[in-house]
């Protein structure tokens, strides 16, 4: 019989976060964990995609840095994830703000673009609007 604590953890909304900056990963994890979400961080797109293939629970939301790893691997990753996991909701974080739009314009309602640095309140609000309460 599962313990109540374990059940609560398993019921929490799961958020995957990909960013090659360890400080950003720590900051985001602290913000969203504080709001009751379960956050799993990855330093690379390949690490995240591998985790999906390893049978881990599918995240409720993916927060993806646009310029992660080499060049614009985040943009390539968006295309891959959207193609293979069309139902996965995403928030794309970018330092470039509106300047990234000529290179990338998501057309689905399940994806948001947010500018770095993110205010904790703004990030929480965006997560809430996409996945609901923890």
């Amino acid at each position: 019989m599962r313990s109540g604590a374990l059940q609560i953890v398993e019921d929490m909304k799961k958020i995957a976060h990909v960013d090659d900056d360890p400080l950003v990963r720590e900051l985001l994890e602290r913000v969203l964990s504080g709001e009751g979400y379960r956050v799993e961080s990855f330093g690379s797109v390949s690490g995240f995609l591998k985790s999906l293939g390893d049978g881990k629970p599918f995240p409720d939301l993916l927060i993806l840095d646009v310029m992660v790893e080499e060049d614009d691997a985040g943009l390539t990753a968006y295309d891959t994830v959207r193609r293979e996991y069309p139902g996965l909701k995403m928030i794309l974080l970018t330092s470039l703000g509106e300047s990234v739009r000529p290179y990338f314009e998501p057309t689905d309602s399940e994806t948001r673009i947010m500018q770095k640095p993110f205010l904790p309140a703004d990030l929480t609000s965006a997560v809430l609007s996409l996945v609901g309460d923890r």
Partner: protein, 477 residues
């Protein structure tokens, strides 16, 4: 342990060597197919002329005699009857447009056309008159077209074939195998066949002229094709360089801005989590650090935007219809938080109006003007924004009651990094690039901007879209 691997790098300064053009060597199927349509047009013209001549001969033979021409009904009709269906068949084989795939090789189809054309042309030359008439010079049309549209070797083959057919026609006429003919209604014309020297002179002259035309026109065509190829390569290099520059700017901006974003996120976290434990002086220090990092980040983004706009080769073909009132409304929403922090009211009067442009760039323009209006307003002030069509112009105005600009400084405010002394005193933290971005967007969209301002009394920016311009005021173009 394995021996360390030695790798040598060398960067050749001239990495962009031009690729040789097609020159006299090769023309692609696509180009052949396109060029063959020119021969089809010539064939239609010849078919129509032959048909008309046949009809005229049938209906008004006396008219032709008066013009010094002999009537001919049968052979022009036969030529037209051959050329018209041939054109239809060739058209289907080549496809309805140059881009449609054909089942036969375009090269084979083109040569079939050339052989048929020269055969029909030889018949026309025979009946028009192979000696003493302008008839043989009709071959020049084919030779010239072949030089322009085909390779030098192919056009030489057309020239040689034309000469061969013409000489063969004259020989057959001279030997009596076929009766000489002429459209020029003059017995003297046929007498030319009885004397050998004029005949020889004309044949040699025609053939020499055909080869001379081939030489000159084919060389000219080769030169033009080489220039076209070099131009296309240059355009491709420019496009590729532009793309590389954009990507480089994007990467550089990200590399410069990311550390600042991390610092700002960290400061926000510290202030958010421990605000009750940090002395107020430290809070102020953190606030100053955050503000400086914010301005640095904005400067980096503004430099990127300005670089993108400065080298932008976007033409009006990339413009699309924009609901200007909606765009301005979105920009107002974005500046509302900073306006509210300083107690500044933004009063919009937005009428529905549509303009053409690039939405992102026009957002930069409107956003910068609104942001400046809020920044340089005094606390508790008002910013009025109007949008629509009035007094013969389409656009919007942004008007504040802030610090204003002195007349001698107005003309410099669009210079990069220029900031008037009063502006610096009012707001030390500004990138100084915002209005340079406005200028670039205005240049791309051919927008006129009028500025009405006085120190201490505020500033009004009037943005006028092309088509309905306001001719008064100190506008910039």
């Amino acid at each position: 342990m394995p021996d360390p691997e030695s790798i040598e790098f060398f960067w050749d300064g001239d990495t962009e060597k031009p690729v040789p053009g097609p020159g006299a060597g090769h023309i692609s199927d696509e180009v052949l197919r396109r060029n063959a349509h020119w021969f089809m047009r010539l064939r239609w013209i010849v078919a129509v002329l032959c048909s008309l001549y046949s009809l005229l001969s049938l209906s008004f033979p006396d008219l032709l005699h008066m013009a010094g021409l002999s009537a001919a009904v049968v052979w022009p009709a036969i030529i037209a009857a051959i050329l018209i269906p041939a054109n239809v068949v060739f058209g289907r084989l080549l496809g309805k447009s140059p881009r449609t795939d054909a089942s036969l090789s375009p090269y084979l189809i083109v040569w079939l056309q050339i052989i048929l054309d020269l055969a029909c042309l030889t018949v026309v030359v025979h009946f028009v008159g192979s000696i003493g008439t302008p008839g043989p010079y009709l071959y020049l049309l084919h030779v010239a077209l072949a030089c322009v549209f085909f390779t030098a070797s192919a056009s030489l083959a057309v020239t040689a074939l034309s000469c061969f057919l013409y000489i063969a026609t004259v020989i057959l006429e001279r030997s009596g195998v076929i009766e000489p003919s002429s459209l020029l209604w003059s017995p003297a014309t046929l007498d030319l066949f009885t004397s050998g020297q004029p005949t020889l002179i004309q044949v040699v002259s025609v053939c020499l002229l055909l080869f001379l035309v081939w030489y000159l026109v084919s060389r000219l065509s080769i030169a033009i094709r080489e220039r076209e190829h070099e131009l296309m390569q240059a355009q491709e290099r420019i496009r590729s360089a532009q793309e590389q520059k954009d990507r480089h700017a994007l990467k550089m901006t990200h590399q410069l801005k990311s550390p600042l974003d991390t610092i700002r996120s960290g400061i926000a976290m510290i202030r958010g989590e421990t605000r009750w434990e940090i002395p107020e002086s430290f809070q102020d220090l953190l606030g100053t650090m955050e503000e400086r990092a914010r301005v640095m980040g904005e400067l980096i983004l503004d430099v990127l935007r300005l670089a993108q706009l400065s080298f932008d080769q976007v033409g009006t073909e990339h413009f699309r219809g924009i609901e200007l009132h909606e765009l301005v409304s979105r920009c107002i929403t974005e500046v509302q938080p900073s306006a509210q922090r300083r107690g500044i009211s933004i009063l919009p009067e937005l009428s529905r109006v549509t303009v053409r442009g690039i939405p992102q760039q026009l957002s930069f323009l409107a956003g910068n003007l609104l942001s400046n209006a809020v920044t340089y307003s005094n606390e508790g002030g008002t910013v009025r924004v109007r949008c629509g069509m009035e007094q013969g112009w389409t656009g919007f105005t942004v008007e504040d009651e802030g610090i204003g600009i002195s007349p001698e400084k107005v003309r410099r405010i669009f210079d990069e990094f220029y900031r008037a002394k009063e502006a610096v005193e009012h707001n030390p933290f500004s990138t100084g690039i915002g209005l340079s971005i406005v200028r670039q967007v205005a240049r791309i969209h051919r927008i006129r901007i009028r500025i009405d301002s006085a120190p201490g009394r505020g500033t009004r920016f009037t943005v006028v879209f092309p088509g309905e311009s306001d001719n008064s005021g100190a506008g910039i173009s």
